[in-house]
């Protein structure tokens, strides 16, 4: 029983990472109907920015303020990167056929991966966690502060995002753009600004995920975004792509499924399980768990 509960904790904390990345996929898809394949690599860049910021604190007593600062700087940097990617890669082809944007996305992804190897070096780097390390023991179940941080941050950010989408004017504009881009433009919504904002938000969430996982694991490398990105994409599809609570739910399910597969079936199937779920969901419920066929989407 202890083992089972411990695995559940492991799964939920891994799933929170997938959820944070999945939010970005889902938001961009909701607005542009575009699968932003470069999203996983933005997550990687976020982890590296966090790494370089926390290097400044090396030797200091670890503190949550430092960790938070590293995370915020990474989020800001990646928000900027997201806007740049949108402006120079996706906006020029926004009116072209869907396939064009998709291929552009793959191109941006390759650029970031290989650029990352060039700039950061191909060797993995190791995060010296800026946050103090604590452990919580509930019975035999151990929860580390890193695992708890990941979980709490993903819940808080999802809640903030939901609030923004449903309760603010910007959120209303995002929903309008998602509903119909041209009509929103005619109503005076500055669509370019809203789309840029969506990219900024999604990328910032990915950066938060990158810093959080780097503190928990603590290995980062320029290709780390590929597998996490793909699994988060599956999570977004599973929850219902375009649906914000769906991304959270999908992420948690994929995380738990993966950990249970490793623990109780075979570690070899670790990566296979997410894609098995993807195939199953596409066959039996293509709109995802929470997705409704073309209704409110952001």
């Amino acid at each position: 029983m202890t083992t089972f509960l411990q695995q559940l904790v492991n799964g939920l904390s891994l799933g929170s990472i997938y959820a944070l990345i999945a939010l970005g996929y889902t938001m961009v898809y909701g607005i542009l109907r575009l699968i932003n394949f470069a999203h996983g690599d933005v997550y990687m860049v976020g982890a590296y920015v966090g790494y370089y910021v926390s290097l400044r604190f090396r030797g200091d007593e670890p503190s949550f303020a430092h960790a938070l600062l590293a995370m915020l700087v990474a989020m800001l940097a990646c928000a900027g990167l997201g806007v740049v990617i949108e402006r120079f890669a996706y906006r020029p082809v926004r009116r072209a056929a869907k396939m064009t944007s998709l291929i552009t996305a793959i191109g941006v992804s390759l650029l970031l991966e290989n650029g990352g190897q060039l700039v950061f070096g191909a060797d993995p780097k190791f995060f010296s966690s800026a946050a103090p390390h604590r452990e919580l023991a509930l019975g035999g179940v151990r929860i580390s502060s890193e695992q708890l941080q990941v979980f709490v941050v993903s819940l808080v950010l999802t809640a903030l995002l939901l609030y923004m989408i449903h309760r603010t004017k910007t959120g209303m504009a995002m929903r309008a753009v998602s509903f119909n881009l041209d009509a929103a433009k005619l109503m005076g919504v500055s669509t370019n600004l809203i789309i840029a904002l969506t990219f900024a938000l999604g990328s910032a969430f990915a950066a938060a995920a990158g810093v959080l996982i780097a503190m928990a694991i603590p290995k980062i490398d320029p290709l780390m975004g590929i597998m996490y990105g793909l699994k988060a994409f599956v999570a977004a599809v599973l929850g219902g792509i375009g649906n914000v609570p769906g991304a959270l739910l999908g992420g948690l399910i994929i995380g738990v499924a993966e950990v249970f597969t490793v623990g109780y079936l075979s570690p070899t199937y670790r990566d296979a399980i997410a894609f098995a779920i993807l195939i199953a969901i596409l066959l039996f419920r293509p709109q995802g768990i929470l997705g409704r066929v073309e209704k409110e989407k952001v």
């Binding site: 083992t3 492991n10 190791f126 890193e146 993966e258 249970f260 623990g263 570690p267 670790r270």
Partner: protein, 380 residues
């Protein structure tokens, strides 16, 4: 049209042939190739080996070179990937025309490159690949270190006799020939020494989250956990094991040896043990001279891979000198004839299976230092 195609192919082939022959057969120098992981997951393996072999060839060149010629070492990076190792060796042989090849550390990558060297009849000396299959690839493939049959047995003996463990758990890399080989020998020998393997889990190189496997292992309450992996994963595993409240020491093989190990795992590694080829604490004058020279040249303490890189380069040079020629077959025969060569990592004799038989050293990790524990002689 057809004729023109043929003509251009012929010209290209001729150029390629001319290019490939040119450097190796040059009158002034002997070109030796080395492939290794200068970047990637096991970057320190390749970097250390390269430093060791460079140091050896520098000394040889200063002492007048080989057969009256200077030695030129060409090092290719395989990015820690087996498929790149094959490409790197093909390039060294076909384009650079090397007379012999040094490499690799990781058995999976040596296994990818060995058939190419064997096919081209270019002798290959691996400084530190321990999987038995490597030298079984053919009679041109040699190693200057012990095999995993010996290493796995030493680890099992150390765990059972010195740590007095009865229950061991295993966590190994399922995609890595080295790790799979050590796991087999260890579990067999540990049982022979009266121990029991209570749980077993695997991972794949490149994984970074091991909590699920470790949680399963924890429920079996092992006294030690045997992790025959490479340092990147081992450091991460150690951290996550301590996070989950596992206090049992981790025990592993020479794949742990890296200056990065402590940087990755930190305090979580205190009290863990691994087997290795030599210890920097060894008081023998040969070892101390090597350590001092290396420190003077590179400003760091040499790990075992640097020491083996140094030994491999010197054994190869010695073989070329004895052969009196750079012909593959003659170097091969001279290598096979190596007896009681005084290396930094001990006295090296190549046996009939082209392996070296040497003692295994057990080290303990203590605050970033690898402290000598035990020397386990072969067959003892």
């Amino acid at each position: 049209m057809k004729l023109r195609v043929f003509a251009s192919i012929a010209v290209t082939a001729a150029c390629a042939a001319a290019l490939s022959c040119a450097p190796g057969k040059s009158a002034k120098e002997i070109v030796i190739g080395e492939y290794g992981s200068l970047t990637g997951n096991t970057a320190t393996f390749g970097q250390s080996t390269k430093k060791g072999s460079e140091m050896a060839f520098d000394e040889i060149n200063k002492g007048g070179g080989l057969l009256g010629k200077q030695v030129k070492l060409i090092v290719e990076d395989d990015q820690s990937k087996p498929e790149e190792a094959a490409t790197a060796v093909t390039k060294l042989i076909n384009q650079n025309g090397v007379v012999a090849v040094l490499g690799e550390v990781a058995s999976s990558r040596s296994l990818a490159a060995a058939p190419i060297c064997q096919g081209a009849k270019i002798p290959m000396v691996t400084p530190s690949s321990t999987n038995p299959k490597v030298t079984q690839q053919g009679d041109y493939i040699f190693r200057v270190c012990f095999t995993d049959v010996q290493q796995g047995e030493a680890d099992a003996k150390f765990a059972a006799k010195f740590l007095k463990a009865k229950k061991a758990a295993l966590l190994y890399d399922v995609r890595n020939d080295y790790s799979v080989g050590l796991r087999l020998v260890f579990s067999q020998k540990f049982k022979e020494y009266g121990g029991e393997i209570t749980a077993e889990q695997s991972y794949s190189e490149g994984d970074s989250d091991f909590r699920a496997q470790l949680t399963q292992l924890k429920s079996a309450n092992p006294e030690i956990i045997y992790v025959p992996g490479y340092y990147t994963e081992v450091g991460t595993i150690a951290r996550q094991a301590r996070d989950l409240g596992i206090t049992a020491p981790l025990v592993g093989g020479d794949g742990w040896d890296s200056p990065k190990l402590w940087e990755i795992g930190g305090k979580a590694l205190n009290g863990c043990y691994f087997s290795n080829h030599y210890s920097v604490d060894d008081p023998s004058p040969a070892v101390q001279k090597f350590v001092a020279d290396y420190k003077a040249k590179f400003g760091a303490t040499p790990d075992a891979l640097a020491a083996l890189g140094y030994d491999a380069a010197r054994i190869l040079a010695e073989a070329i000198r004895k052969a009196g020629s750079t012909e593959g077959a003659k170097i091969r025969d001279a290598l096979a004839d190596t007896k009681s060569f005084a290396g930094v990592t001990g006295s090296i004799t190549i046996d009939k299976d082209r392996n070296a038989v040497k003692p295994v050293v057990m080290l303990k990790v203590e605050d970033g230092k690898f402290v000598f524990q035990e020397k386990i002689e072969p067959g003892a």
